[in-house]
């Protein structure tokens, strides 16, 4: 039973979120001419369908035999029926939870820091750190690719495509200004 409950968690979360949104949809304010349906009908219909789907799946998992079984999309069943079962060999991939946590933290940190450090410094640090987290262990290649990559990004997008990338705050912005002068970016 515990295993079955565990399998319902994702659907329960979706159900709760959609229920909250449904309550919020009741508070959408609008003035509709007599008899016309309002702008709340469409989202409420989607939310109701979403909740129904979740309830169906939760009930199926908890109370029916063969609950783990899912009706697959056609592609999945075609692959299952394929004449040669080569895919099964590649299907089981190892998982490294620490890497994913590191990758998400690093990516969030990039967004938090980019306006403070500026595009160049932040991108250089991100490229190097991501490659390292991704278990690539050749420091010279990592440093060189990160340096060249961030300089190239800066040159192409600031000088050629005119995208306004973050300059950073003092004292980090001095690095950006120096590079901009060297690259002839105004």
């Amino acid at each position: 039973m515990l295993n079955r409950l565990r399998r319902t968690v994702a659907y329960m979360v979706v159900f709760v979120v959609t229920a909250v949104l449904y309550v919020l949809a009741n508070r959408i304010s609008f003035i509709a001419p007599g008899g016309r349906i309002g702008p709340d009908v469409w989202p409420k219909a989607i939310l109701a369908l979403s909740m129904l789907t979740c309830v169906f799946q939760i009930v199926k998992i908890l109370f029916f035999a063969g609950a783990g079984e899912q009706v697959p999309g056609v592609l999945e069943s075609i692959i299952e029926e394929a004449p040669v079962g080569e895919i099964a060999e590649t299907a089981t991939e190892p998982r490294y939870p620490r890497l994913i946590v590191g990758g998400i933290v690093l990516t969030v940190a990039y967004v938090v820091l980019i306006e403070r450090l500026g595009f160049f410094l932040c991108t250089f640090a991100y490229l190097a750190a991501f490659a390292w987290i991704g278990r690539y262990r050749r420091p010279l290649v990592v440093l060189a690719s990160s340096l060249i990559g961030s300089l190239l990004f800066m040159f192409v997008f600031m000088k050629v495509v005119y995208v306004s990338l973050p300059l950073g705050q003092e004292p980090f912005s001095q690095v950006t200004f120096l590079l901009m002068r060297l690259m002839g970016i105004r």
């Binding site: 003035i31 989607i46 697959p72 999309g73 592609l75 075609i78 394929a82 490294y96």
Partner: protein, 504 residues
């Protein structure tokens, strides 16, 4: 028909204009590189290229993206055949006969068959698409809002029905996408929905950030969790392509015909993309091919069928996209996004307002197929060197392209947060086997679906039966029901076959 042929021929002049030709060549090269690199998917590549089209005119933008799309269906064949690494899921069937042929000491022949199949599938499907598009569009001009709603509904349900490991998860993904499209000020009443007092949300959530986040950052995170474990590439010998002789080519004519037709039909059906076409055509050969007992041992039919069908889907996909504005796959959803970003709504009116653009796209597909094959023949040795790039490094650059794409769009840090958020959503979806495509398509088509639904309700006094009583919309609604029921029936049949193998 003569008008169509003349317009198509005239469009080659547009394609050969320098800007468009450069876009075509760049698209072909980038598409092939993306397909060769195991960490990058075809859709991800097209998504990453989208922000670069902001500053371009619409014709080169669409040519660039479609060129990437078509060469992406071919590039992965090299790594599948030479190194047993399928660049894309659609290349998996090529492992069975393509790699087997290479393993028997005939890699050049296997590559030759792939090139031959991609060329034939691409050219035949483009010609078929050109012939079909105008009648499709003329017919679509009769559509009113109930028909449009029914067609969008069919597009969305078939995407759910055809892809993913679970129908239920597919629907949840679709509903999430439709809800994302609801965020912001509604277009009929001007009412704010789900903005939570955040001014930026009043403009709605850009579907670009959803696509870039879910397909770009999300897939990188999935690969990161797997430790970027690309199978090691063995230093190969000489990489060359040897064409089949005319007699050998003539011998596979039935396979070629079957796979081309399958590819075109499966391309037109929303949701049934190149991967399904590739598997289905291989399965069809397993039933109808004269040498079916030899499939899997390295015979030409096992290479020609999946490659022809997967390349043929590209032109097939363009028909509903251009004539109805319905994208049938992740890549065509991005191309639809490019149309919308340039202020053009694909649909039957495009044929009236800008037929030059429509035929230029088809002509670019035609030239693109030829260019792709030339590139495959002459530049393959150089292209497959990208396999030696470390995946951790290229993935970091992919994330960076995603972020810069967001900056190019609105120059707003909030978009970066959106991309990261949808990247995490994309990762969670992959992890728990929720398909991403329904969410993305729901997000793109949600506004149109709601608009068609509301207009129908207003025009027909809230009579929801209108979708079932008008002739065209009722037929489409029947297809919606078939799309929903078919996976269920298929699943039940599979279960029955598993339990009673002898009887089956």
């Amino acid at each position: 028909m003569l008008d169509v042929a003349l317009s198509f021929l005239a469009a080659f002049h547009t394609v050969f204009q320098p800007v468009n030709l450069i876009a075509l060549v760049v698209g072909l090269v980038v598409g092939m590189i993306v397909a060769v690199l195991p960490g990058l998917t075809l859709v991800m590549g097209v998504v990453l290229a989208l922000p670069f089209t902001y500053g371009m005119a619409i014709t080169p933008s669409i040519i660039l993206l479609t060129a990437m799309y078509i060469s992406g269906t071919y590039g992965g064949a090299f790594t599948a055949i030479l190194f047993r690494i399928p660049g894309e899921p659609l290349d998996v069937p090529l492992l069975w006969d393509g790699y087997a042929m290479a393993h028997k000491g005939e890699p050049a022949k296997a590559l030759g068959w792939t090139l031959f199949a991609a060329f034939c599938g691409g050219i035949l499907s483009t010609l078929a698409a050109v012939a079909m598009a105008h009648p499709f569009a003329t017919f679509a001009l009769k559509f009113d809002s109930p028909e449009y709603f029914a067609i969008i509904l069919f597009g969305l349900t078939s995407v759910v029905a055809l892809s993913g490991a679970s129908l239920i998860n597919g629907f949840i993904s679709l509903f999430l996408g439709l809800m994302i499209a609801c965020v912001g000020v509604d277009s009929i009443y001007g009412a704010e929905r789900f903005t939570f007092g955040v001014p930026m949300l009043a403009d709605g959530i850009e579907y670009l950030t959803v696509m870039v986040g879910a397909y770009g950052v999300g897939e990188v995170l999935v690969r990161l969790e797997q430790g970027f474990q690309t199978p090691p590439v063995q230093a190969g010998g000489r990489v060359a392509t040897r064409f089949p002789s005319l007699r050998e080519a003539w011998a596979v004519k039935a396979t070629l015909a079957r796979s081309s037709v399958l590819g075109i039909i499966l391309g037109i059906i929303p949701g049934a993309g190149a991967t399904i076409a590739s598997f289905v055509s291989y399965g069809t050969e397993a039933q109808y091919c004269k040498r079916r007992e030899l499939l899997g041992t390295g015979i030409a039919e096992g290479i020609v069928a999946p490659q022809t069908a997967s390349t043929a889907t590209v032109a097939g996909h363009m028909v509903p996209l251009i004539t109805l504005g319905i994208p049938g796959s992740g890549a065509t959803a991005v191309i639809l996004g490019a149309f919308l970003l340039h202020g053009v709504q694909p649909g039957p009116q495009v044929f009236v307002k800008d037929p030059g653009l429509v035929y230029a796209i088809f002509a670019s597909l035609f030239v693109g197929v030829i260019g792709m094959c030339l590139m495959g023949y002459f530049a393959i040795k150089t292209l497959i060197k990208v396999l030696y790039l470390p995946e951790a490094v290229t993935s970091a650059f992919v994330v960076m392209f995603c972020f810069i794409g967001a900056f190019s769009a609105r120059n707003n840090i909030t978009d970066l947060w959106m991309i990261v958020s949808f990247g995490i959503v994309g990762y969670v979806f992959e992890r728990f086997r929720f398909p991403i495509a329904p969410m993305v398509l729901g997000c793109i088509l949600g506004t149109q679906a709601e608009s068609a639904f509301m207009t129908s309700m207003i025009s027909y006094q809230n009579d929801w039966t209108v979708f079932f009583t008008r002739p065209i919309s009722s037929v489409v609604m029947v297809f919606v029901v078939i799309a929903l029921v078919y996976p269920l029936l298929r699943h039940l049949r599979q279960k029955r076959d598993t339990h009673h193998p002898v009887a089956s």
